[in-house]
């Protein structure tokens, strides 16, 4: 039995999503900018997908800018605001645990003369609205805080931060919702969010499609200029088939949420319980204030996380070391370090990430395999070393 527990890295596309892609790519291939009938058909599909997605996200169609994915949307939000509003101020607030597609553009901006405050997090992996309030300055143009952390699943207090920012109308609020979509609801209006990022392949859509929500009235300098598509904000021939597929994936994901969120929460609680019963593991995901699909734990010292991943693979169980983007090189998890678990534990983090397709019956065999892998690898390495 194959058990895929790496849904935060990427998900398997829903079959209906692949079908939608195939149909649109083969039969409605024209360029939506073309004036002829075939172009108009493609344009209509694009418009319908935009309207459907907007309705599901409770925003206006004119507020959606399609991108090639989450990384582009995050880069666009951060640099787009920085270039557009740099005369107003050059200070940005974010957290120490953002995805690299937020953190790295911030570093780039620092080199170009902007100032960035990186807020630390508590042991539960969360920042507080008070921290944001204290860091705010007259020249703060942007606050960027992720909704759900991709490594440990901590859910940030977006609504409280929004309330603080309501008193600072000149500071824009960006939220990376890549891990939260379809798993943790968010009221965009009540939270006062100006920009948010979505990536299709994290909810069983296709890679190469994502979007940035840009609230009406917010202006951004484009990252990719040219033919003037997406209301001049993002040029390039639209990937209509993948966008239609994203609309379909979002609808199915939200339906699954309605039907199965209770079950997913229970599943996670059971997972946490089963893992907590293994004495040599340290659980890094807090029981409260965390998303229903991500569990992070650290292996006992002496076991290399990548060796552990390969050992589990022998039983067809697929998990991940920290986040996928940085898992080729072993470095301590940035999020775990920020949570203060110590260097050693931060180097031995393992992430389990669920989808609505995971089942209870998987827990027992998977946990048994985890225990066995720990046992095997501890024997190999001569058991627990003296790392912290």
């Amino acid at each position: 039995m194959m058990i895929y527990l790496d849904n935060s890295a990427t998900t398997k596309p829903f079959p209906e999503v692949v079908d939608a892609f195939a149909t649109v790519a083969s039969h409605y291939f024209a360029n939506p900018s073309s004036l002829h009938g075939l172009g108009m058909k493609a344009e209509r599909l694009l418009r319908q997908a935009r309207e459907q997605i907007a309705a599901m996200l409770d925003v206006k169609p004119s507020e959606i800018v399609f991108t090639s994915g989450g990384t582009e949307a995050n880069n666009f939000a951060i640099k787009g605001v920085a270039w557009q509003y740099r005369r107003r101020g050059r200070h940005i607030i974010t957290t120490e645990i953002e995805h690299p597609s937020v953190a790295e553009p911030c570093r780039q901006l620092e080199e170009l003369g902007f100032e960035v405050t990186y807020l630390p997090v508590g042991p539960d992996g969360r920042v507080s609205a008070e921290q944001v309030a204290r860091a705010l300055r007259d020249d703060t143009i942007l606050v960027s805080v992720m909704h759900v952390n991709n490594e440990v699943g901590a859910v940030q207090p977006i609504e409280e931060i929004g309330a603080v920012l309501a008193r600072h109308p000149k500071t824009l609020f960006h939220v990376d919702r890549v891990q939260g979509i379809g798993k943790v609801p968010l009221d965009v209006k009540r939270c006062g969010i100006d920009l948010f990022t979505v990536s299709a392949h994290k909810f069983h859509g296709l890679r190469g499609a994502g979007l940035l929500y840009v609230r009406d009235g917010v202006r951004l300098t484009p990252l990719i200029a040219g033919g003037g598509q997406e209301r001049q904000l993002r040029s390039g021939t639209e990937n209509v088939a993948a966008i239609v597929a994203m609309a379909k994936a979002l609808r199915l994901a939200l339906e699954r949420y309605e039907r199965d969120i209770g079950r997913l929460r229970e599943l996670k609680a059971e997972w946490l319980q089963a893992l907590a019963a293994i004495p040599s593991l340290s659980i890094n995901t807090a029981e409260r204030g965390s998303a229903p699909h991500i569990i992070n734990f650290s292996l006992p010292s002496g076991i290399k996380p990548e060796v552990f991943v390969h050992e589990l693979e022998k039983s067809e169980i697929y998990v991940s070391t920290t986040s996928a983007c940085s898992s080729k090189r072993r470095a301590p998890s940035k999020t775990l370090l920020a949570m203060g678990v110590g260097e050693g534990r931060a180097e031995r983090g393992i992430r389990i990430s669920l989808s609505f397709d995971n089942r209870r019956e998987e827990i027992k065999p998977a946990v048994a395999a985890i225990q066995q892998a720990i046992k095997t690898l501890s024997e190999v390495t001569g058991s627990h070393g003296d790392e912290v």
Binding site: D6, A9, T10, T11, K12, P15, F21, A25, S26, F29, A30, N31, S33, S34, L35, H36, G37, L38, G39, S68, G69, G70, T71, E72, N75, P100, S101, V102, A103, E104, P105, R107, S199, H201, L206, R207, G208, A209, P222, L223, I224, A225, G226, G227, G228, S235, G236, T237, A242, E306, H310, E313, Y318, S320, T321, A324, C325, S327, K328, R329
Partner: protein, 380 residues
């Protein structure tokens, strides 16, 4: 009524084998190439194979290919990325008046950042002169960006000569090969090209996929920062199905290149013959030896909007070749650069572009319909 699609330069239908490969990849190789487990490794292998296919097609090294979301991103990345990384060396760029907007708008962005851009003119066939490039070169020129072949009129630029000229100058040479790639064999070393943009959906691959060739010695700043994908030059989870689709499309394009070139040339000739024998007043825009799939024609006395509407009613999808905003057609900047603001050609030209799925019967019918429509529109 059978619809006849003659707008392959705007975008082309996906080849069935390409679609099949992508669908297989979506269902079987859905792993993230950065993941270290089996699914990740399987995706990584597919990615590596696709990369070497693209590299081979250009005579490049695998490490010199950066996958992007398409031609527009590749152009923006090439221009803004090299300008930002080399701004200490100089702040001057050279390009042409007939580039795609993906290049022109990136240049405008750079001008706002304090860069100086020279836009070279073209002759009435849409060709830049190597002499003009030479004359425009300065000590502080860091990049010359000249498209391989134009998307509206198909004119091929003297890339080899410009590449040779730049061998003795530190400026990098970028070419937008979005329309040429696949139909013209290109070896980046032979041509002296340092950066080259390509786009998958113009060669029967999927939309949302493209690449930038970046010579190993070129200094370039990423456009997208984040994860360490594409050797830190382009962050973002790789669109593996899209990249596999591109690689398949390239393989098919190379295999069918000669046959297609002959076929398109014959179709162009067939249209010309029908136009001539009908006694129609027309002028071919571009040059005789341009890209074989692009056929741009002016019909004096007509207006492009009514031409296109009437063609569409007759089931023929063609194009003005220029960007359109809210249903109206701006005069093409390419035709303006070729024939001037006053020329009637800028308002009466249609681009027919050939590709997969077209037949000789379709081409002949399209030409005959065009004749009827033009005659009707020019009847006083």
């Amino acid at each position: 009524m059978e619809r006849i699609y003659l707008d392959h330069a705007a975008t082309s239908p996906i080849h069935p084998d390409v679609a099949a490969g992508m669908i297989q990849s979506m269902t079987e190789q859905f792993g993230n190439p950065s993941s270290i487990h089996y699914f990740g490794r399987q995706s990584r292998r597919a990615l590596d194979e696709a990369r070497s296919a693209i590299a081979r097609s250009l005579g490049a090294k695998e490490t010199e290919i950066v996958f992007t979301s398409g031609g527009t991103e590749a152009d923006n990345f090439a221009l803004i990325g090299t300008a930002m990384a080399n701004r200490e060396r100089g702040r001057h760029l050279i390009t042409t008046a007939i580039e795609h907007h993906a290049v022109l708008r990136a240049c405008e962005h750079l001008q706002k950042q304090g860069f100086d851009v020279t836009y070279l003119p073209v002759d009435e066939h849409g060709r830049v002169s190597v002499e003009d490039v030479k004359a425009a070169l300065r000590d502080d020129t860091i990049l010359v960006s000249i498209m391989f072949a134009n998307n509206e009129v198909g004119t091929i630029q003297p890339i080899r000569e410009i590449g040779a000229l730049l061998r003795d100058h530190p400026a990098y040479f970028h070419t937008d090969a979005v329309q040429a790639y696949g139909l013209i064999p290109i070896d980046v070393n032979e041509y002296g090209i340092d950066l080259l943009s390509l786009s998958s959906h113009k060669i029967n691959g999927p939309k949302g996929s493209g690449a930038l060739y970046v010579r190993g010695t070129v200094r370039i700043t990423p456009l997208l920062f984040g994860g360490e994908q594409e050797r830190k030059r382009r962050a973002g989870t790789e669109n593996v199905p899209g990249i596999i689709g591109l690689a398949r499309a390239v393989e098919i394009a190379e295999r069918t290149r000669e046959e297609k070139r002959k076929q398109y040339a014959a179709w162009r000739e067939a249209m010309l013959t029908i136009f001539r024998s009908s006694g129609l007043d027309f002028i071919v825009n571009g040059s005789e030896d341009g890209l074989p799939h692009i056929f741009n024609v002016a019909f004096p006395g007509t207006n492009v909007e009514s031409l296109l509407v009437n063609l569409d009613l007759a089931g023929i999808a063609a194009s003005s070749g220029s960007a359109c905003t809210a249903g109206s057609i701006d005069p093409s900047h390419v035709l303006v650069a070729m024939c001037g603001n006053e020329s009637e050609r800028i308002r009466s030209s249609v681009r027919f572009s050939f590709g997969l799925g077209n037949t000789t019967e379709q081409i002949e019918r399209a030409a005959e319909e065009t004749v009827k429509i033009v005659k009707r529109l020019t009847k006083r």
